[in-house]
């Protein structure tokens, strides 16, 4: 088998709980060594997907293929997949060392190898000093590391992490995010990480799969999702954005032309463009808008009046009124100095057609 075959292939997987459709025909490939994040609001089916991969739930329809082998009906103990649980699920009656050795013992390793492997993983995660402690005697961050060590020890092909940072405070969280990312890089393992925190997803992942209501909304790199959202849901869920509702006019080369309150604007349509005359929504990020004294040469230029400013430290959020009568507004991030100089006079606002994405509803 070459490295080209995906490590995991989820093929048309649906999961129903009674009348609830938790997953709706999900298809997804995960490559070896990838850090994939599953991102979505509560109840969108993230944990369900993880639990299907771990073997704790069976899909209603569809197949799960791991390393070329159909594992859809395989119980968890047979799979080369380990999970870091949201509540860590450390065994309270076992020491840190015993927790970490548990999976190794069950693999049938001999005593000496178990010792070697658990020492290795404990020093890798800087847990050496805690081997004889019980989970109740550890801090939240230490417990999190033990859970990670326990899941990594048996050398799984795929590591599943279900919101493992949810229980940590904001500061520790940021630190552990960096740690996790670097552990993933050093072990070169495939991490499948679940979160509903878009910032966390953006900082950690090679690839983000945005889920909504049991379906994939968009699948791409963090930059892709941020600057080229395919749907309104993604644009709104990740970061802050300007949503421009207008009418489809036609094509101009690669660009899509739209009408927005009498202004002709150009954007691109990653998810395909609707027919002429259809209502459409486009998204442009706040930091993509630039201020100009005269009409700029950018693909899009409109005139507007400053109606509000919010100082945010290094930058400033500026609210602009473009079309008073119909209430067409824009919001821009500019550096604090530029923000201070703009006054009551109308200014030109410009942005590239590449930075505006026409969205799927």
């Amino acid at each position: 088998m070459t490295d080209q075959t995906p490590l995991v292939r989820i093929e048309g997987v649906s999961k129903h709980f009674g009348d609830t459709v938790a997953l709706d025909d999900l298809t997804l490939d995960i490559a070896r060594g990838e850090f994939v994040t599953f991102l979505g609001p509560s109840g969108c089916g993230k944990s369900t997907t993880l639990r299907i991969l771990g073997g704790f739930e069976r899909p209603t329809t569809g197949r799960v293929i791991l390393d070329g082998q159909d594992v859809t009906t395989q119980p968890p103990e047979k799979r080369q997949v380990n999970m870091v649980f949201q509540d860590y699920a450390l065994f309270p009656h076992m020491t840190v060392g015993q927790n970490i050795s548990f999976g190794l013992e069950l693999k049938g390793m001999d005593k000496a190898s178990i010792k070697r492997r658990s020492d290795e993983i404990m020093s890798f995660l800087e847990l050496d000093a805690f081997g004889d402690r019980y989970p109740a005697q550890l801090s939240g961050g230490q417990r999190q590391r033990v859970a990670l060590a326990r899941a990594l020890a048996p050398d799984p092909a795929l590591l599943l992490l279900d919101e493992p940072l949810g229980a940590l405070d904001a500061k520790l969280r940021g630190q552990v995010q960096q740690e996790l990312k670097s552990i993933q890089r050093r072990t070169n393992k495939t991490f499948f990480f679940v979160t509903h925190d878009q910032e966390e997803a953006l900082t950690m992942s090679d690839r983000i799969v945005v889920m909504n209501k049991g379906r994939v909304e968009q699948d791409g790199t963090p930059e892709d999702l941020y600057f080229h959202p395919a749907s309104r849901f993604v644009a709104e869920f990740i970061g802050e954005t300007n949503l421009l509702s207008g009418e489809m006019r036609g094509h101009d080369g690669d660009a899509v032309v739209m009408d927005w309150f009498g202004q002709t604007l150009r954007g691109h349509a990653p998810a395909g463009a609707p027919p002429e005359g259809a209502p459409i929504t486009a998204s442009v990020r706040l930091e993509k808008l630039g201020f100009h004294a005269t009409r700029p040469e950018t693909g899009n230029a409109v005139q507007g009046k400053v109606v509000g400013k919010t100082f945010l430290g290094s930058r400033m959020a500026v609210d602009l009124m473009v079309e008073e009568a119909q209430g067409a507004t824009l919001r821009a991030f500019v550096d604090a100095e530029t923000g201070q100089t703009v006054g009551a006079d109308p200014i030109w606002i410009g942005w590239d057609s590449d930075s505006m994405a026409v969205l799927r509803d």
Binding site: E77, N82, Q86, A136
Partner: protein
């Protein structure tokens, strides 16, 4: 709470304490009286009744007999009760409510009724009165307590614990033995002690199902019939100290274990 209420409340409390403990204290005192007749005044004290109890082969063998019955009945009810609890807890299946109801029923049936029922049934099955019959009746009577205590503990075991064990390669049986069972130990110990005491203390079932050999409560009853004597007080005090000590130790022990293993 105002002052008057507080005083009233503490009066009620102390009245209750007296009500509970005075009979016990009187009973213990009389066991040290140097006279054959129970009652005040106590003119002189003695330990003779106690030395008598520990020298009396019949009493000692009865004590051993009662203890053996208690241990056997406890082992059976703990095994059966734990098994039923694991079967019932957190699962939905057809007939679950019926099984649960039948399981706890023996705890609710009045002792005398269940004793008579056992007697009739034993006779019907051809089981001789004696140790086997008593153990059987005690075990059935104790199962509900084990089931309730173990189920309560089991319901606090996070589901992720077993999933984590399975995830790390344990099949359902290994997961049960290495995760569930250790988690249940405090509950099982607590239930065992409770069963031991229930069984040791039982009179009605032992009386109806016993053969020629009496258990301790049955022996005390027999001695009472032939007249009160401080000897009975001494026996009762020994039994009281024994059971109270076991009970208090078990309570503290299980509480400590519960604390240690909290996730």
């Amino acid at each position: 709470m105002n002052r008057g209420n507080r005083i009233l409340l503490s009066c009620v409390y102390w009245a209750f304490v007296l009500y509970v403990f005075v009979p016990l204290i009187l009973m213990i005192l009389m066991g040290f009286k140097d006279s054959k007749f129970i009652g005040f005044p106590i003119k002189s004290w003695t330990l003779d009744w106690y030395t008598g109890v520990f020298a009396d082969a019949e009493i000692l063998s009865t004590l051993g007999y009662s203890a053996a019955i208690a241990v056997l009945a406890t082992l059976i009810s703990v095994a059966v009760g734990t098994w039923i609890a694991v079967l019932l807890e957190g699962r939905k299946f057809w007939g679950r409510t019926a099984i649960f109801g039948m399981t706890v029923l023996p705890a609710l049936v009045p002792g005398i009724i269940s004793a008579i029922a056992f007697r009739i049934y034993a006779r019907y099955l051809g089981i001789e009165p004696g140790m086997g019959a008593i153990v059987w009746a005690h075990a059935v009577h104790n199962v509900p307590f084990v089931v309730l205590v173990v189920m309560a503990r089991l319901s606090t075991l996070p589901k992720s614990q077993l999933e984590a064990a399975r995830d790390l390669g344990a099949d359902p049986i290994i997961a049960f033995l290495r995760i569930t069972l250790p988690y249940l130990v405090p509950a099982i110990l607590g239930a065992s002690i409770f069963c031991l005491l229930l069984s040791f203390d039982d009179f009605v079932r032992s009386f109806f199902l016993g053969g020629y050999e009496p258990t301790l409560p049955v022996l005390i009853f027999a001695k009472l019939k032939s007249g009160m004597s401080p000897e009975i007080n001494a026996i009762a005090t020994v039994a009281l100290v024994l059971t109270a000590a076991i009970g208090i130790w078990a309570e503290r022990f299980t509480r400590r274990m519960n604390k240690d293993t909290k996730a």
